[in-house]
Symmetry: C2
Subunit: 182 residues, 2 copies
DNA sequence: TCTGAAGACTTCAACAGTAAAGTTCGAAGC
DNA sequence: GCTTCGAACTTTACTGTTGAAGTCTTCAGA
């Protein structure tokens, strides 16, 4: 078995079994949680990517729009602040803003009260693409959680935030670069 | 409030509150699950990245080593198969293998029985780095789940696999490119 | 006021990924 | 036995991110 040369990604259960075979010191229960988390995230990003692509933007650009809107009125942030929120280097932020300005999604101006600072704002078009992306995303997310009862959703959210709190405490610094995703 | 210009990433609860403010058609319970998933994954990748960096490799390289080991004896796969398992384009796989061969982590040979095919194998050094990375990762993962009882871990794993099954059914194709992560 | 240091962003060179075109070998049909 | 098609990988050109160096402004002290 498993002899097919063109074999694709193994199923989660196959993967867990392979881990047990190759690395005995592994708690299958832990591995199941961790592997499922990682795979889920990948699939979700693929789904978001398809939706944002329909709007002619990328997930990366959507992230910027989200950060601006979530910052609240007047929907403006500096590149440095944006970079921190998105976990990017300032250099990457500069380039990304360049593109988004060229596409008419955001504006860039100098802060008159402090001419070193730059202020990035969202345009009408940016805002409307954000809204449309949110609409599509919520449909997808609602569908994703379809099989979970309200009570289960609550428990799941609670457990995940407990995990999150634990990593954030151990890793208080801004979350680091995004270079190593998978 | 929220007037600090150097403000960093908002907390999960602040983010949920901002969503409710800016986009009413949002189920906070759903959003909590989704946002926690995404943040958790980011933090986990940062943690893995620090560990693999200690070994002088990247998360990307570790992924390749994992795929080879999990494939089972004789720990060999073609670039195309590897690319499918990792969700990369074949071109990216070629480049990544180039680097890993140069670093002595894997070998690349032509398949004698079919000279179009290439076979990637793991070296001793690759295998030992994989093992060391696994050891560090399991310590981290065990710590991550520290606050969950055995029963909770089981329930969490079960719910996550249910979600995963749902996306995989909706998205049966190999999972798509990894270009749009966040 | 001038000067030096710090902060905020940008520029530059190098690296990693993608898409599309190119190469090479194997297999199926005439 | 050619020839054509298709599969598997590589090459090329381009996009996006990083780390480090560079620029410009502000602010504090002499």
């Amino acid at each position: 078995m498993a002899d097919t040369p063109g074999a694709s990604e193994p199923s989660l259960d196959e993967q867990i079994a392979a881990y047990q075979r190759e690395f005995q010191d592994l708690d299958p229960q832990v591995e199941k949680v961790v592997s499922a988390l990682s795979r889920l995230n990948r699939r979700m990003n693929v789904a978001y990517g398809r939706q944002t692509a329909e709007l002619g933007i990328s997930n990366a650009e959507w992230e910027v729009l989200k950060a601006l809107v979530l910052a609240g009125a007047p929907y403006r942030l500096g590149p440095g602040d944006l970079a921190k929120r998105l976990g990017l280097t300032p250099a990457a932020m500069t380039h990304r803003i360049d593109r988004m300005v060229a596409e008419g999604l955001v504006t860039r101006e100098r802060d008159e009260s402090n001419r070193v600072r730059v202020i990035v704002g969202i345009t009408e078009e940016g805002r409307s693409k954000w809204l449309e992306a949110m609409r599509m995303a919520t449909v997808f997310e609602e569908d994703l959680l379809q099989d979970l009862s309200g009570e289960e959703r609550g428990r799941l959210g609670e457990m995940l935030t407990r995990l999150l709190r634990r990593v954030e405490d151990a890793q208080p610094d801004a979350g680091g670069r995004l270079s190593d995703l998978d």
